[in-house]
């Protein structure tokens, strides 16, 4: 019973919280600057040929992308643990876990299959050997 009366009093605060939840000019500008920096770095790394080590370069690009995705989520989509009583966050975590499983498992399984199956098929092997020098001679 006391909950009902207090919820009536809470309405004005609630309204302010809504506005805060929608973001502020400073929030959007901070997000924009961070996103711009996190976009420019990978472009510079790839187009300026800064890192010669390819696997390392790919890891750096992916790490920057993940950081930028979180910048977008926090500053543009305003996801936090309070919005919608935490249900937004719950749905997001659930999605993130499934997306990681789908992506990670697909890459893992298919990589292993490629590695283990390739020598089995002489046709394919011949094809890929014949193809590789033609496709990118300068880098290798």
């Amino acid at each position: 019973m006391s909950q009902l009366s207090s919820s009536g009093h809470a309405m004005p605060d609630n309204h302010d919280a809504m506005h805060e939840h929608q973001g502020s000019l400073r929030g959007y500008l901070t997000g924009f600057v961070l996103a711009a920096i996190l976009t420019v770095i990978p472009f510079w790394l790839v187009m300026g040929h800064v890192i010669a080590n390819k696997p390392l370069l790919i890891l750096v690009i992916l790490a920057l992308a993940i950081v930028q995705i979180f910048v977008h989520i926090v500053y543009f989509l305003h996801l936090d643990t309070r919005s919608e009583a935490g249900w937004n966050m719950m749905a997001f975590i659930f999605t993130a876990v499934l997306v990681i499983i789908v992506l990670g498992a697909s890459i893992w399984v298919m990589y292993n299959e490629n590695v283990n199956m390739m020598p089995m098929s002489p046709q394919y092997q011949q094809h890929s050997i014949g193809h590789q020098p033609a496709s990118n001679p300068p880098t290798r």
Partner: protein, 208 residues
């Protein structure tokens, strides 16, 4: 039994819900958020496709040969600025300034139109060069993923135009505010997906 248990939620969450949020107004936004999360799965499966098929060139062109990085940089900038500008429109909406909001929305919409136009141009150039979606598994997965994103942006533009007309006609009433906030989430979400596209599909695609 289960349904009644959900209807009359346990005391602690209900307490939190009533004190800090207003359920009727937020129901739509939560529902729309869940739609966005399910849309994430569509993109995740297309990303997984590209991850698996992205090096199957079938003797055709590789990523380094067909992907246009300067064009990609322009497109990325267009979409990012469009996303921020949409945020400005939402700030004006919170202040009940209809004219300023419509102005920012128009800018955001035009930037998105430029984005889609550049993308279609890039696709047409690739197809003319013999690197169409039918050439190899790499290009099939590339076109499917990038075009699905482009289609989302196109539908977002259509939705934006409809809501701008609605706002001009009926003003910033509760319904229009709610719809605009859903569209704002959609708009920012598409920019978020684009981060994955330009990083993984293009920048990593060029290196593979």
């Amino acid at each position: 039994m289960n349904t009644t248990a959900i209807d009359t939620a346990p005391p602690a969450p209900a307490d939190h819900y009533c004190l800090t949020e207003s359920p009727p107004r937020n129901g739509t936004l939560l529902g729309f958020w869940i739609y966005l999360m399910s849309d994430c799965f569509i993109f995740a499966s297309l990303f997984a496709c590209y991850a698996v098929l992205g090096t199957e060139y079938a003797g055709g062109p590789t990523g380094a040969e067909v992907l246009d990085l300067p064009g990609l940089a322009v497109n990325t900038a267009l979409l990012l600025v469009s996303s921020v500008v949409f945020g400005f429109a939402m700030l004006e909406m919170a202040r009940q300034r209809k004219g300023a909001m419509l102005g920012w929305l128009a800018v955001a919409g035009l930037l998105a139109v430029a984005f889609v136009s550049f993308e279609i141009h890039e696709f047409l150039v690739m197809i003319a060069d013999g690197a169409g979606p039918g050439r190899s598994a790499f290009l099939s997965s590339f076109f499917t993923l990038v075009a699905t994103h482009g289609l989302h942006v196109t539908l977002g533009i259509l939705w934006l135009v409809v809501l701008m007309v609605q706002t001009v006609k009926f003003g910033l009433n509760t319904d229009n505010v709610r719809r605009l906030r859903c569209l704002s989430m959609f708009w920012h979400f598409l920019d978020l997906v684009w981060v994955g596209v330009f990083s993984y599909v293009y920048l990593v695609g060029v290196l593979r």
